[in-house]
């Protein structure tokens, strides 16, 4: 009996130490992914049924509250700017020389025909605030060991009732995320790849978003260049900068 108890305790301790708690994993992800501020250039390739188109942009962001994006190409989108201040979003269109605020139902529209909605971009609440998380095991994703986390909404006003996350067990970055409807239907999937170390933190350079109910190969988001903790002038995050 003593041996059995010792063996049980050993297994419990080993598994207990090797499998961190869900909250801890989410905390580590936050530490890894968030920074005081960041400046990055990115490309967004929207894979349609017949053709694909790529939009490049440059973004400045401070925490999750403030961000400013300027679209660089193609010519049709060039000069379009987007400003997000907490829960408010404005878009400036150079062709009409007008700034419009995206609010209410408009937040549910697709961003430039991609698989992402403005709401998806705006969602800056911490996962730990809106979901109950549980580690359900580990799996191998692209040759790397990953913790599998199942998140269930604990508030009513989130877009997705459940999420499933595969988190790199060593680098603590999400490698894949599935978003589910209330009925359990898989709605969207994002797959992160090209993980690189930037300024001492791991970061996925490519994210593929896919609406799982729709045909097509989804929307690929690529970080072309990223810099953390830069000196960003405060005036960038003002409505005046949209027309500059």
């Amino acid at each position: 009996m003593k041996y059995i108890l010792t063996a049980f305790l050993t297994v419990w301790l080993v598994t207990g130490y090797s499998q961190p708690k869900a909250e801890e994993i989410l905390e580590r992800i936050d530490q890894n992914m968030s920074s005081e501020n960041r400046v990055f250039e990115s490309s967004m390739t929207i894979h349609g049924k017949r053709s694909s188109r790529t939009i490049t942009s440059k973004s400045w962001s401070v925490g999750d509250e403030k961000s400013f994006t300027e679209y660089l190409s193609p010519a049709r989108e060039q000069g379009t700017k987007m400003l997000k201040l907490e829960d408010q979003l404005w878009i400036y269109s150079p062709s009409t020389d007008r700034t419009i605020q995206i609010s209410g139902h408009m937040l549910r529209q697709s961003v430039m025909g991609s698989d992402l909605s403005y709401e998806d971009m705006m969602d800056d609440r911490k996962l730990t605030d809106t979901y109950d998380a549980e580690v359900t095991g580990s799996e191998e994703v692209d040759g790397r060991k990953a913790w599998v986390l199942e998140l269930t909404a604990k508030v009513d006003d989130v877009a997705y009732a459940a999420r499933k996350l595969w988190v790199d067990a060593e680098r603590y970055i999400p490698l894949r995320e599935d978003l589910f409807a209330k009925s359990g239907q898989l709605l969207k999937r994002s797959v992160m790849s090209d993980v690189v170390e930037v300024d001492g933190r791991w970061f996925p350079k490519t994210i593929l978003y896919k609406d799982m109910l729709k045909q097509g190969d989804g929307t690929e988001f690529k970080m072309l260049d990223i810099k953390f903790n830069q000196d960003i002038p405060e005036h960038i995050f003002s409505k005046a900068s949209l027309k500059m």
Partner: protein, 392 residues
């Protein structure tokens, strides 16, 4: 006057082919004007009847935020059905309808739709909602219109994934089974709408006892706005049909104008020629004691009689034609649903006594005026010169 009419008639018949050509052209104007106006009246009647049967019943209450032309208003346009409606709801003379924005994915294509919740047992609208009573265990039974079916290439028995958001904004998705595809003449009820049982939609969206609009059958009852519910009478709801028909009628008037102009040109020419060739006759009339006014009157009656003869000829071939049209209808060569408004593929003209009388009066009046204008020249004629047959 009797003599004038006799003379005019004899002169007209005596002119032979020239008269009959004029009469034929004028009679054609009669028939076309009556037929086209009848077609418009028939369309108006059919469109309003179809809208009543398929879309609006005897009128509706709309939630104050509801705008059928702006799907984005659907998120906010719902509220509990007022308690004051409960009697009519129980009797089935009022039907609550809940409309929610959603998305369907036929063969992986993303298509926005309005998910419309309606009671399967309703009897106000002709939409075959009875099919929604079908027991389906693994999907939601749905009824769709022929326009959506054609556009989405979806047929009866097909299963589709449908996605929507509940009242809190949380996504949900399920499979729907298309039980029935219906066809009406009202594109608004067919395009971009999926009908599912009301109670199912309410539970899916957490909008228990709520509705976006309420349709009632009794259009005669005096009704007022009820809180955040705005009363829309049948006349208000069918006003777009009146607008379209008004626009079309104005367009058609141009066509009638051209048609009448051609006929009147012929009558005018005939009158000018008659006066030119019959100067001796005019001189003789005056020599016999006719006043100039009477001679002008004689020639005007003669011209105007073209229209009377035309009315008789039009009645001869027009009556069978118009009767046949009213019975068989006129089938449009293009797809009527493409117009986006209540319009049957085959329109049945509706003629009224008022329409026929008004058309006859207008044509006779215009012909009389056109006949009078050249006849005024007679008043300026020198009777002696006229008797000699000199050109004046």
């Amino acid at each position: 006057m009797k003599t004038a009419l006799k003379l005019a008639f004899r002169n007209l018949i005596g002119a032979g082919l020239r008269t009959w050509l004029n009469v034929l052209v004028l009679s054609f104007s009669f028939v076309v004007i009556i037929w086209m106006n009848g077609l418009m009246a028939g369309w108006d009647y059919q469109a309003k009847t179809d809208m009543t049967n398929w879309q609006i019943g005897g009128g509706q209450y709309w939630h104050e935020q509801y705008d059928p032309y702006d799907p984005f208003t659907l998120t906010e346009s719902h509220a509990p059905v007022p308690a004051g409606f409960s009697d009519e709801l129980a009797r089935g003379t009022m039907e609550p309808i809940l409309v929610v924005q959603g998305t369907i994915y036929p063969e992986g294509r993303m298509q926005p739709v309005a998910i419309t919740g309606i009671r399967p047992g309703q009897e106000i609208l002709m939409i075959p909602t009875f099919a929604l009573d079908t027991v389906v265990t693994d999907a939601v039974p749905a009824v769709i219109g022929a326009v959506l079916s054609r556009n989405m290439q979806v047929k009866e028995g097909d299963r589709l994934t449908m996605r929507w958001r509940d009242a809190n904004g949380m996504f949900d998705a399920t499979e729907i089974l298309v039980i029935k595809v219906f066809s009406s003449n009202v594109p608004a009820v067919e395009a971009g709408q999926i009908y599912i049982p009301l109670e199912k939609l309410r539970s899916m969206t957490l909008l228990e006892d709520e509705a976006t609009l309420v349709t009632f059958s009794d259009s005669e009852k005096e009704r007022q706005d009820a809180g955040e519910w705005v009363h829309k009478s049948k006349d208000e709801l069918t006003a777009p049909v009146d607008e379209i028909i008004k626009t079309k009628t104005v367009g058609q008037s141009v066509f009638y104008g051209i048609l009448l102009l051609l006929a009147m040109l012929a009558v005018f020419d005939t009158q000018v020629l008659s006066i030119f060739r019959r100067q001796k006759e005019i001189g003789t009339y005056i020599a016999l004691g006719y006043t100039r006014r009477e001679v002008v009157g004689l020639f005007t009656v003669e011209g105007a009689m073209h229209s009377v003869l035309a009315a008789v000829v039009a009645a001869l071939y027009g009556f069978p034609f118009l009767w046949w049209q009213a019975r068989e209808g006129w089938t449009m060569p293009i797809e009527a649903s493409e117009f986006g408004m209540a319009m049957a593929q085959t329109l049945y003209p509706v003629y009224s006594a008022g329409l026929v009388i008004a058309t006859v009066l207008i044509v006779v009046l215009v012909t009389t005026i056109v006949s009078y204008l050249p006849s005024r020249k007679i008043a300026k004629m020198n009777p002696t010169e006229a008797l000699r047959g000199r050109i004046q």
